[in-house]
């Protein structure tokens, strides 16, 4: 039986009705197909429309015509099989082409390697970052475009502080040095984006709770960000059932600290109260906790929850309107890394502890395995393990900046 996805048919069964049919067997002069008992054919030359998938173009090629002959072959309790004959050169060519492709596919699946990548691996993360950065070509007019974008109202240029190490770096360095140090890792200190001071920070991690900053670190980041006039958004990962109460306590603790700070400021009659400008969450449970229980308003969905904008590589392979729909109405985009997979049973921890990514369980304590270890992938797939996740690198985003979005989060 030929998969319907590569060869589908539609048969006219009467003046008003056509129905999708499954092609069972195919040859250059016909095919067999199946109908339910209730739709027994009376016409021996029905009209049929066939769709042949062409792998190369990823399109379907259509053949329409009348069957030269259509004979009942086999009847059982549930269906009737028919043998159809077609005398048509175009049909014969399409059938032969599909048959060749399908047989090649079967041969490849049975005899070829399912995994057919070279084993050309980078040595370490440093090499990955430098290689990727080295391939970025900065257009001449990028600086101008960027300045225009940044000077428009309501644009957000943010940096992601996704790990304790990155938070520490922010807290211990002057902003300009901090920013330069990040771009230096990618040898992209000449990129115009590296010259712009961000006006926001996204503090926390969308993927792993072990990477969340301590309450003290949150307050320290808020204090420092305030001096630079930066807004700060807190990012929270999804919470498993085991972690749910712990996450809620974490949130309540931060809110309590902020409240305490606000009270102290009132008493001292000076200084700006520390405040989190918004929360980014990645599961509906925490979202409900923040909005319904804590009555917070500035809550938005994060990359794992607002699924449609996670993939920054959407190539607009459907028509323009649909592509917009796929991109959703998001105004925020994280780049140049994009998340591809995340494991709530951390695959990195599993590999370190059991030598297999798939044999792990819930990690209750973590001493920062992903600071020391990472999964490296063949060079041609431009991917790397980060945290409990697999990310792809899209250097094109640094060349063709997403000027249609008004919130950028740089997740270098």
């Amino acid at each position: 039986m030929i998969p319907f996805a590569i060869l589908g048919g539609s048969l006219r069964i009467n003046h008003e009705q056509s129905i999708e049919i499954r092609i069972l067997e195919l040859s250059s002069d016909g095919f067999t197909f199946r109908l339910p008992l209730a739709l027994e054919l009376s016409d021996s030359h029905p009209e049929v429309s066939l769709w042949f998938y062409d792998k190369k173009s990823e399109q379907y090629r259509n053949w329409k015509g009348r069957l030269t002959e259509c004979v009942k072959m086999d009847v059982n309790r549930f269906w009737i099989d028919y043998q159809a004959r077609i005398r048509d050169t175009a049909f014969a060519e399409l059938a032969s082409s599909l048959s060749r492709e399908y047989l090649c596919y079967i041969d490849w699946k049975q005899n070829g390697a399912d995994v057919d990548y070279s084993e050309n691996f980078p040595a370490n993360r440093v090499e990955c970052f430098q290689n990727w950065g080295g391939r970025v070509t900065i257009p001449d007019d990028l600086d101008r475009k960027l300045q225009n974008w940044y000077s428009a109202k309501k644009t957000t240029l943010a940096y992601a502080l996704e790990t304790p190490a990155r938070v520490k770096r922010f807290l211990t360095m002057e902003e300009e040095d901090f920013r330069r140090s990040i771009w230096e890792e990618y040898r992209l200190t000449e990129h115009p984006l590296s010259k712009l001071r961000p006006n926001a920070l996204f503090l926390g991690n969308s993927y792993c709770r072990h990477l969340l900053p301590t309450t003290d670190a949150v307050l320290d980041v808020l204090r420092k960000a305030t001096t630079y006039g930066m807004r700060v958004y807190l990012v929270l990962p999804p919470a498993s059932e085991s972690d749910l109460d712990l996450m809620k306590r974490y949130i309540v603790n931060i809110l309590a600290q902020l409240h305490t700070h606000m009270q102290e400021n009132r008493i001292n009659e000076g200084g700006s109260p520390l405040s989190v400008d918004g929360w980014m969450v990645n599961d509906a449970g925490i979202l409900a906790f923040l909005t319904k229980d804590q009555k917070l308003e500035s809550v938005q969905k994060g990359p794992l929850m607002c699924k449609s904008y996670r993939d920054s590589r959407i190539q607009h392979l459907v028509d323009g309107n649909e592509a917009e729909g796929l991109m959703h109405s998001s105004q925020q985009i994280w780049f140049p890394f994009y998340q591809m997979n995340t494991g709530t049973f951390c695959p990195l921890a599993a590999k370190v502890q059991t030598n297999s990514r798939g044999y792990g369980g819930r990690v209750t304590q973590c001493d920062g395995i992903c600071a020391r270890n990472a999964f490296l992938y063949p060079r041609e797939v431009d991917s790397i393990g980060r945290f409990n996740s697999l990310f792809g690198w899209n250097g094109r985003m640094l060349e063709d900046l997403p000027l249609h979005e008004n919130e950028w989060v740089i997740n270098l």
Partner: protein, 331 residues
């Protein structure tokens, strides 16, 4: 005879990739089957870039292909009595495709299909407005905690994501009593993934292997614990169809799953060889029979392992906390 205090029977839910297999799966012991269906006009418009469900492959039989086959399958359903659920568990749809899906659901309802597995919240919301259909929340939604379940539109059954521990499921079952969820489904066999389905944005397509199967190296390999020198290769989810549960197995956990309140067990099989799936169904049924007769958990596991895994199992556990109790994993 048997632990009478816990005799609620768990039903076996099996993925069906081809209509011809339905009678065989039913006769082997499936209590329910689930399928995928992608109309040709949908494919013509959107190709494979807006998949209707989580099988984006074209070149092998994972979807029930044509509308006429759905009619055939409905006749089979009526004859054999084992219900069929349709998976619409794509992670995300546009507004336009979502409305097309709703129209498709209404057409399917007209021919008797009224059970759907859904992963996208907006689609769930939309379908919950249609009378007479049963909605099942796919594990691909990412319902990791009880508050997620409590804040979603109403549905009948939840399928817990792969990386949910038994204890977590038990907690979510206990806390879901007021939500209207009456059935709870857990994975039991095949295709355990290193990653969480709800957060998997890689395509399961023909052209490329799954991202979870792309070779990799680990940076800073010197830090590894509880690993011998011989354990230097990855134990991938295996394509070796000979060993039961080679790509993922939860059979050791059946006692605890039942105790946790799980009512349905998912056997992942769409696209798998028919013979293997029939074997899998029969083996799970044997495990369930042993469960019914077992005095306690230790008795169940001993008897099940003796009968189904006399030469040892794959160790690829869906519920590694059980394996941990044997001292294999340090957490």
């Amino acid at each position: 005879m048997g632990d009478q205090s816990m005799r609620n029977e768990m039903k076996l839910v099996v993925g069906l990739g081809s209509v011809e297999d339905y009678p065989d799966y039913v006769e082997a012991g499936a209590d329910e089957v689930f399928i995928g269906y992608v109309p040709m006009d949908y494919r013509l418009r959107y190709g494979k870039h807006a998949p209707l469900n989580r099988r984006e492959v074209l070149y092998y039989n994972v979807q029930i292909g044509s509308f006429s086959e759905l009619l055939i399958l409905k006749d089979m359903w009526q004859a054999y009595g084992v219900p069929v659920t349709i998976a619409l568990n794509g992670l995300t749809y546009s507004e336009k495709t979502r409305e097309e899906i709703v129209e498709m659901v209404l057409r399917l309802q007209e021919i008797g299909y009224d059970r759907f597995i859904v992963a996208e919240e907006a689609l769930l919301q939309r379908l919950s407005q249609i009378n007479g259909i049963t909605l099942i929340l796919s594990g691909e939604y990412g319902e990791l905690n009880r508050d997620v379940l409590a804040n979603l539109p109403k549905f009948h059954r939840v399928i817990y994501p792969r990386q949910t521990s038994i204890e977590e499921m038990a907690s979510m079952v206990r806390n879901s009593k007021s939500t209207g969820i009456t059935e709870h489904e857990a994975f039991v066999l095949n295709e355990k993934c290193h990653f969480t389905g709800a957060y998997c944005m890689s395509k399961h397509c023909d052209e490329l292997c799954h991202m979870c199967r792309v070779p990799y190296r680990m940076e800073e390999e010197r830090e590894r614990f509880a690993v011998t020198e011989e354990d230097s290769t990855e134990n991938f989810a295996s394509d070796d169809g000979e060993l039961l549960g080679a790509s993922g197995c939860g059979l050791c956990a059946l006692y605890r799953l039942r105790k946790a309140g799980i009512t349905h067990l998912k056997l992942v099989s769409r696209g798998n060889a028919t013979e293997e799936t029939i074997r899998d169904i029969r083996e799970v049924r044997k495990a369930l029979q042993i469960l019914d007769l077992a005095k306690d958990e230790a008795d169940y596991r001993r008897r099940m392992q003796e009968m189904l895994f006399p030469a040892g199992c794959s160790g690829n556990c869906y519920y590694p906390e059980i394996k941990k109790e044997k001292g294999t994993i340090n957490e």
